[in-house]
């Protein structure tokens, strides 16, 4: 889809994704061999069906929908973590995702090494990470725990560190799954401050949330997903209202 002379940063065209759910799960060679004479039934679960949208530079797009509507799968496809079954995703910018916070650390390494690892994966050079290390640890309020192994961190501490690294790693597009769902009021306020600073610099954002307040406050535009299809694409506050009425009726 083309929007006049402004080239989209992300174009999602007719994307579909399905998972095949077996009647009996077999994860091992032994289970497959023992089950050779017992064929399984597979049920097709259509998670996304012919989804299309685009994202222009500087835009903040919200994605809403009930559990199982395909929000997280859509984010993973946009971020390149999952390939789509059909359709096309064209990404013209560096995407920094914050997905599944709290899982994604090496528990045997300390905070500094984990920051180096995740920062490298997110596209930062070692020099950039070393230069930003103090800032990252300060943002996460973990300066005192820099050399503590992650296995001793609480889930909240790990999540704060995840946000701190990702906010530093953002280059063009930031993708957030359940924004600001972690930390105390002070940390949330710092995240919001950082979010608006990034928006002021012109960064583009995609936010998935169940919270109508988050979508109305932080997004310009939003999508409402239902059963893997886009039910509505419009202004953020309209989508938030529609989502609330969908849940209450």
């Amino acid at each position: 889809m083309s929007l006049g002379f402004v080239m989209s940063l992300i174009e999602v065209n007719a994307v579909s994704k399905a998972f095949w759910i077996p009647s009996v799960r077999r994860d091992t060679v032994r289970e497959h061999l023992l089950g050779l004479l017992q064929p399984r039934q597979f049920q097709r679960l259509q998670v996304l069906d012919d989804v299309s949208f685009d994202l222009r530079p500087g835009e903040a797009l919200g994605v809403m929908g009930r559990n199982g509507s395909g929000k997280s799968t859509l984010l993973k496809i946009v971020c390149g973590v999952y390939p789509p079954d059909r359709g096309r995703v064209h990404v013209r910018a560096a995407v920094t995702p914050i997905l599944e916070l709290g899982v994604g650390w090496n528990p045997e390494l300390d905070a500094v090494d984990n920051v180096l690892l995740i920062g490298s994966v997110m596209g930062l050079s070692l020099r950039q990470i070393h230069q930003s290390m103090d800032e990252i640890l300060t943002f996460a309020e973990l300066e005192r725990f820099a050399n503590l192994k992650l296995k001793h961190f609480s889930s909240g501490m790990s999540a704060r560190l995840g946000y701190a690294v990702a906010f530093k790693a953002v280059r063009e597009v930031l993708v957030l799954d359940e924004i600001f769902a972690v930390g105390d009021a002070g940390f949330k306020a710092r995240c919001e401050e950082r979010y608006w600073a990034l928006r002021a610099l012109g960064h583009t954002v995609i936010i998935v949330s169940h919270d109508p307040r988050v979508i109305s406050s932080f997004c310009d535009r939003a999508l409402l997903l239902e059963g893997g299809r886009i039910m509505m694409d419009g202004k953020a506050h309209e989508i938030a209202d529609r989502y609330v009425s969908m849940l209450t009726h």
């Binding site: 497959h32 064209h90 995407v95």
Partner: protein, 281 residues
């Protein structure tokens, strides 16, 4: 970006319009970022495995060294007529140790580092290839140990032998990388593949001529033993380093074909199943 049939998932890293030129100007080149990621994976893997100390690393070397001492104590009496048995044993044992450790690490590499796969999009083969870095470091240390043994035993290797041995090590690394690429994505679908491989490795230790000379078996069986990838590498290395005999061109062609087939097979399986790896985590 790889994708399944009928899929288009394209990426053009240069953004046409972002209002933060300072951030873009500070962007590191992809090659620098990738080099940093590789180095960080190698360093943190070493640190996590050996508790960040060289003492931990040398402690890990004790396992194959102890194995060498025990096997030498037992079998050097059995093969007392072979004057180079101890040297043959140390060459075979250390090359086997790399093969066994490298393939075991490679097989579980994507699962062990799966948390990174769901974080962002990056070439996932890096996770597999760097997972054998510890085994490569150990192999390098053992190469020095082998050289010391050879010199002490009055068999200093010549330049041609060292060059040939370097080639054999490269072929072995290619075989281990090929196996790791293929098995790492299969392990996500078959979670007991590591147990199956453990059994294969145990049997393979005796199938390869490590503790016994190949010559004690009837020649008609040799061809079957050579089908097991570590066998030609161990035999050729012994010929070059211990006996000072460089194997024939045909032998080298066979080894090269063996390594290339293993590597290509691993790449094909990885390219086919790798794009969906995150769905199996």
């Amino acid at each position: 970006m790889t994708a399944s049939a009928g899929t288009k998932l394209e990426s053009t890293p240069s953004a046409p319009a972002v209002a933060d030129p300072a951030a873009r100007a500070a962007d590191a080149r992809p090659a620098v970022v990738r080099a940093g990621l590789i180095w960080t994976l190698v360093r943190t893997d070493f640190k996590a495995r050996y508790h960040g100390t060289f003492g931990g690393f040398f402690w890990a070397l004790l396992k194959p060294l102890t194995m060498f001492i025990v096997l030498m104590a037992v079998f050097s009496f059995l093969f007392a007529s072979n004057p180079t048995y101890k040297l043959d044993l140390i060459v075979g044992l250390f090359l086997w140790d790399f093969f066994a450790e490298g393939t075991k690490s490679g097989l579980t590499s994507l699962h062990a580092r799966g948390f990174l796969l769901t974080k962002a999009r990056f070439p996932s083969w890096i996770l597999v290839v760097t997972s054998i870095s510890n085994a490569v470091i150990t192999l390098a240390v053992f190469c020095v140990v082998i050289a010391i043994f050879l010199i002490a035993a009055g068999h200093p290797p010549g330049v041609a032998a060292l060059v040939a041995f370097a080639g054999y090590c490269a072929a072995l690394i290619a075989i281990v990388i090929g196996f790791s690429l293929g098995s790492s994505v299969l392990f996500l679908r078959y979670r007991d593949l590591n147990q199956v491989w453990d059994v294969v490795v145990q049997a393979g230790f005796f199938f390869a001529p490590i503790i016994y000379p190949l010559g004690i078996l009837p020649e008609r069986f040799h061809i079957y033993l050579y089908l097991w990838p570590p066998t030609p590498i161990i035999e050729f290395s012994r010929a070059a380093l211990v006996n000072g005999v460089i194997p024939t061109r045909a032998a080298h062609l066979y080894l090269a074909a063996d390594a290339v087939i293993c590597l290509l097979l691993g790449i094909v399986i990885f390219r086919r199943l790798g794009p969906r790896a995150a769905e199996y985590l």
